[in-house]
């Protein structure tokens, strides 16, 4: 795997990580506080993180499609 491919994969992990942490936070906020407004805010963060995940995947795909990069 090339250095560039590695980096792109790493970049996908960050938004994925934010989705995971925010989902756990959302669960806890609802369970312990029942704070709906806060939960909505957290869901928005999760949706945005999904978008950046998708963007990163697109970058990875473009990169993989480029045959020059297979080393």
């Amino acid at each position: 795997m090339s250095e560039e491919t590695r980096k792109l994969i790493h970049d996908i992990r960050n938004p994925l990580n934010n989705i995971s942490i925010n989902a756990e936070l959302g669960k806890l906020v609802l369970e312990r506080k029942g704070d709906i407004a806060k939960a909505k805010e957290i869901f928005t963060t999760i949706i945005n993180a999904c978008k950046s995940c998708s963007d990163e995947l697109e970058k990875l795909k473009e990169h993989m499609d480029d045959p020059q990069d297979f080393t």
């Binding site: 790493h10 994925l16 990580n17 995971s20 756990e24 936070l25 906020v29």
Partner: protein, 439 residues
């Protein structure tokens, strides 16, 4: 409770994880660069550091260099997307390293703190203090009380009782925004005390090439610990008094004053009577500093804590040297019988030495034949316990007579002269002591 330093350059992750950890009942400080994290790590004692390995200004591992020397109890967790990082770092920092692999979930996070509960069974009150004895319970109550106020605290206790540790505990219990800044008044060069305490402007004096913030400014919103306060030259004390009275400090060479807002915790190993009689502190300054005086008990008044402390130090050394050394009952008994004039510092030193000399086959500490340090024999005659509140006049008289006789090798005539009593009175006293012991 745990005090966590969370370091990551992703603001979204930082915010969500902080909220999550706080909901779980932990206290969290955050940083997004190596520099910021190092600054926090130097001044606050964290129980956990959760660290992203790749940060904008360098490797997150550099933060570990800033952990204080006594921070060996800090559990370090590396956040990584690559499980392979494990093998690289594994042996560098010993067994205190844990890993969180992205994406992180709640189970992973919680497991970090459960591991902690298993590995250190000994409770550290306010993150610092070990001991369950009655004098310590009293101390904890005092800390609890004062933590909720802004009162200045003066810690009074013998050398080696752990005044700085108690100061850190007070800071910890106060849950302030600011940091804990320790300063030793006995260690400052005389000419530089004012600059260290109050700071200076560039060019304030020869050699002042940069503007410098004094310790009062650095402790803004936190706690300033002034150790050995009674060693501060008397002629410089009015300057300190003025800062405490006005709650404002002016840097040397500066024109405008800066508002300060920190708790001052001072410490001395002199007694209040000594301070007053020998004039180590101006009276007005004493009252400003000792709004809430706290006496820290010497180790010999809490002998029952010795096994806990020994175990705590053994845990520390075992982690540090990656071993599993223990102690046998006979050795523990000896440690409990000794009176530790150098207090916890001396105990820690004795354990460390015995650890190095340990029997590696049996994995047991090896104590020297004589526990006492050269410092412990100075100025204390073990036979004469001196005057303390609670003794009767008879007790003191008996001690005085016996010590005098011992000193004069049993010469009763000279002893009577020295004591200023008749030989007959001396005989009467000695007879009554002999009677009371045969009863």
């Amino acid at each position: 409770m745990t005090q966590i330093l969370l370091v990551d350059d992703d603001p979204q992750f930082l915010q969500a994880t902080t909220e999550l950890l706080e909901l779980l009942g932990h206290q969290v400080s955050t940083a997004s660069t190596v520099e910021e994290a190092s600054r926090l790590a130097r001044t606050t004692l964290f129980t956990h550091v959760i660290l992203d390995v790749i940060l904008p200004d360098g490797s997150g591992l550099h933060v570990l260099d800033s952990l204080p020397e006594n921070g060996q109890n800090t559990q370090v967790t590396l956040v990584t997307g690559h499980p392979s990082v494990k093998s690289i770092v594994k042996n560098l920092y010993g067994p205190n390293i844990h890993y969180l692999i992205k994406p992180i979930n709640l189970e992973q996070l919680e497991s970090l703190f459960n591991q902690q509960a298993d590995s250190t069974r000994i409770k550290q009150h306010y993150g610092h203090l070990v001991g369950e004895s009655a004098p310590m319970q009293e101390l904890y109550q005092m800390i609890e009380r004062v933590a909720n106020t802004h009162a200045n605290v003066m810690l009074i206790g013998e050398s080696g009782v752990g005044k700085e540790v108690v100061a850190s505990a007070i800071h910890y219990a106060s849950r302030t925004e600011g940091v804990f800044i320790p300063a030793n008044c006995g260690a400052f060069a005389r000419d530089l005390i004012s600059s260290e305490l109050f700071g200076h402007e560039k060019g304030a004096f020869t050699g002042a090439t940069h503007r410098k913030a004094g310790v009062f400014e650095q402790a803004q919103g936190g706690s300033l610990f002034l150790d050995e306060i009674t060693e501060m030259p008397i002629e410089l004390q009015p300057n300190l008094l003025r800062v405490l009275e006005t709650q404002q400090v002016t840097r040397l060479g500066g024109t405008s004053s800066i508002d300060i807002n920190c708790r001052v915790i001072s410490a001395t190993n002199r007694t209040e009577v000594e301070i007053a009689e020998q004039g180590h502190l101006r009276e007005d300054l004493y009252f400003r500093l000792a709004v809430f005086p706290i006496h820290i008990p010497p180790l010999r008044e809490r002998v029952e804590d010795i096994p806990l402390l020994v175990e705590h130090f053994l845990n520390t050394f075992n982690r540090q040297y990656q071993s599993t050394i223990g102690i046998d009952e006979a050795s523990l008994e000896r440690l409990m019988q000794y009176d530790w004039p150098g207090n916890i510092r001396e105990l820690r030193h004795a354990i460390h030495r015995a650890y190095i000399m340990a029997d590696m086959d049996k994995k047991l500490l090896s104590l020297p034949d004589d526990l006492s340090s050269p410092f412990s024999k100075v100025g204390s005659d073990p036979h004469f316990n001196g005057i303390t509140v609670g003794k009767t006049v008879e007790d003191v008289e008996k001690e005085l007579i016996e010590t005098t006789l011992e000193h004069l090798a049993g010469d009763k005539k000279r002893a009577a002269e020295m004591l200023g009593i008749s030989l007959k009175t001396l005989y009467n006293r000695l007879n009554s002591y002999a009677e009371s012991t045969t009863e």
